[in-house]
Amino acid sequence: MVAISSWGRLGHWEHDVLALSDRHQVTQQLRNNRLGIAHGMGRSYGDVCLNPDGILWSTTGLDRFISFDENTGRLVCEAGVLLRDIQRLTTPHGWILPVTPGTQLVTVGGAIANDVHGKNHHVFGSFGDHVQQIKLMRTDGTTIECGPNLQQNWFFATVGGIGLTGVITEADIQLRKIAGPWLDTETIPYYDLDKFFDLADSSEADWEHTVSWIDCISSSGRGLFMRANPTNISPLPDPKCKKITMPFVPPISLVNKLSLRPFNTAYFNLKKWQAGRSFTHYEPFFYPLDNLSEWNRIYGPKGFFQYQSVVPREAGASAVQAMLKEITSSGDGSFLAVLKTFGNRQAVGMMSFPQPGVTLALDFPNKGELTLKLFQKLDAIVREAGGRIYLAKDARMPRDLFETGYPRLSEFLQYRDPGISSAMSRRLIGD
């Protein structure tokens, strides 16, 4: 047994880890009478990738490319390949993943199972929109090949299906042509939420990437709006990444009431001075934290929660305002707070998170009951607005909010693999 935690470090739980390393052996390895769940890099925050006292099928050893066509941008690889390895292989040939989340240190399988999104949702949707085919291994020994045009329902259940339909072993992905690895970026400070929505709406037509950092302790809702477009200009050689590791777990969270206000104020004002147009390489733009290894340790031994919700646009402005008000008055929250609008499109997966509206993501150091009480207040706002919470981030949402937030649940359940179970599935579905 091995003690494993997820990215939120809310605890360490014993697991039987079974490494998958040969895609032709997976069928035999899954044949077991005990329940398991696929586990990649463990970068989801809550309990979606955990199965305490049960089996984890570790997929990071399934990290081989199978084929890549430089002319068409079609890439076939094993499910444990990291997005980083795809980007580094294909960007020199002018191809890039069309959708990428805020870290590239995740596996392809995890990106599909959580149907991750990026800063360009209004243009390119979520990760699952670009997957052409997957191979899904079931614990009964069957293999299902599915895609948007092949056994579609299996595909729609598996994209965003949090690993519960089987173990994804291979994926065929359509990459996207780029002129170069740099982006033409612009940072604009804003001082209230109305301005944020103005910027988000007016940027949609002309900018591919839009996102904003929001100062969660300013009640007005000030922040920094960032937008970017790919460019064929390469102003500098590609940056060399300097990796720093957070070397230890501090005895208390370094993100706390004392540190948060000065940090956020300093960050906002510094960035305000640097605002305007510039060129940014895609790695620091998409993955600002990837060079700070194990940054999740800064929250101390108790770990942290991430709360990410999406609410429909009609209710969006007032719901975000209400959530910020609750967070400000609690004094909690974190430096890492992101506000972003999603485009007007439906996701591929039955259980995918993105939906038209506005999404707010915030880290909270784990203060036990205090934090959970705040979340209940936020839940009420999300529920009222008809929103949902992101499964990849969640460790605690109540079942009723899950059921109203994910109306296609009963349809999805028909595709579950009875040999698969996770801490999340037991918490939210019951088995």
Binding site: V2, A3, I4, S5, H12, D16, V17, L18, A19, L20, S21, D22, R23, H24, S58, G61, R64, F65, I66, S67, F68, L89
Partner: protein
């Protein structure tokens, strides 16, 4: 024969070897021969390397790792196709110590796969390299071979055999241009160790270990600890007096 640098990897499906191969094909277009016990698995590794480096030459060979005669013929065949610049002998498997204590067949297999087999491959290549007065031969040992301990001494004994063998070979070839490199990885995060891996710093990332191995081989170092901190740790462990060492639960 192409003018590409010729590299042979024995045990090419091991995670450390596979990552070394990825680094080699990333650095330059090479002529790579991958040897393994299961042709399907080697072919999957080869396909991956081909995607990473379409212009490298990648050959695959399935081989018997136990039979001395088969090893001899295999190596003769490879060398007959042209001089080899680098050989990496990387195969091994982590046995269950408790099982080895109860079941001599398991102990025998662990000693053969981790100790005798790599040595036979090395001996076979070394003769050719000495004749050609050219090349670098690297063998993967382990920090476990530095001092026997109760939790894995069968594996440790096999790796200790590799250590002693390599010392002798280095002595024999000291006056030639052939370089012999003994690699001693510390605990590394690979499929072989997934079931015992603890979170945190004790297990090194396989990419990092591979990077240090490739670097050590290109420099022709005699011993490469990967990560480097294990040189210091093992120096202390080797020198601990028995009365202290035997009280430790390691």
């Amino acid at each position: 024969m192409s003018d590409k640098k010729r590299i042979v990897i024995v045990g090419a499906t091991s995670a450390i070897a596979e990552h070394c191969a990825r680094l080699w094909v990333k650095d330059a277009e090479v002529d790579l021969t991958l040897i393994g016990r299961d042709l399907g698995r080697i072919e999957r590794v080869a396909a991956d390397l081909h995607v990473r480096s379409p212009n490298s030459v990648i050959r695959v060979l399935e081989a018997n790792f136990i039979d001395p005669l088969a090893i001899h013929q295999l190596v003769d065949g490879i060398v007959a196709e042209g001089a080899v610049n680098t050989v990496l002998i990387a195969h091994g498997s982590l046995p269950d110590q408790a099982l080895c204590q109860q079941d001599l067949t398991a102990a025998h297999e662990a000693l053969t796969v981790n100790g005798i087999s790599p040595v036979l491959f090395a001996e076979s290549f070394a003769g050719h390299m000495q004749k050609a007065n050219y090349g670098t031969l690297a063998i993967i040992g382990s920090v476990a071979g530095d001092r026997g301990r109760k939790s894995n001494y069968v594996y440790g004994a096999a790796k200790g055999l590799v250590t002693r063998y390599t010392q002798g070979l280095q002595h024999r070839l000291a006056n030639t241009l052939v370089k012999i490199v003994l690699v001693k990885p510390g605990p590394t995060d690979t499929p072989m160790t997934a079931h015992i891996k603890e979170e945190g710093g004790r297990f090194a990332k396989v990419e990092d270990v591979a990077e240090q191995i490739v670097k050590g081989i290109s420099q022709g170092k005699t011993v490469v600890y990967a990560p480097g901190k294990w040189a210091l740790i093992m120096m202390i462990i080797r020198h601990l007096p028995t009365f202290i060492f035997n009280k430790m639960d390691i």
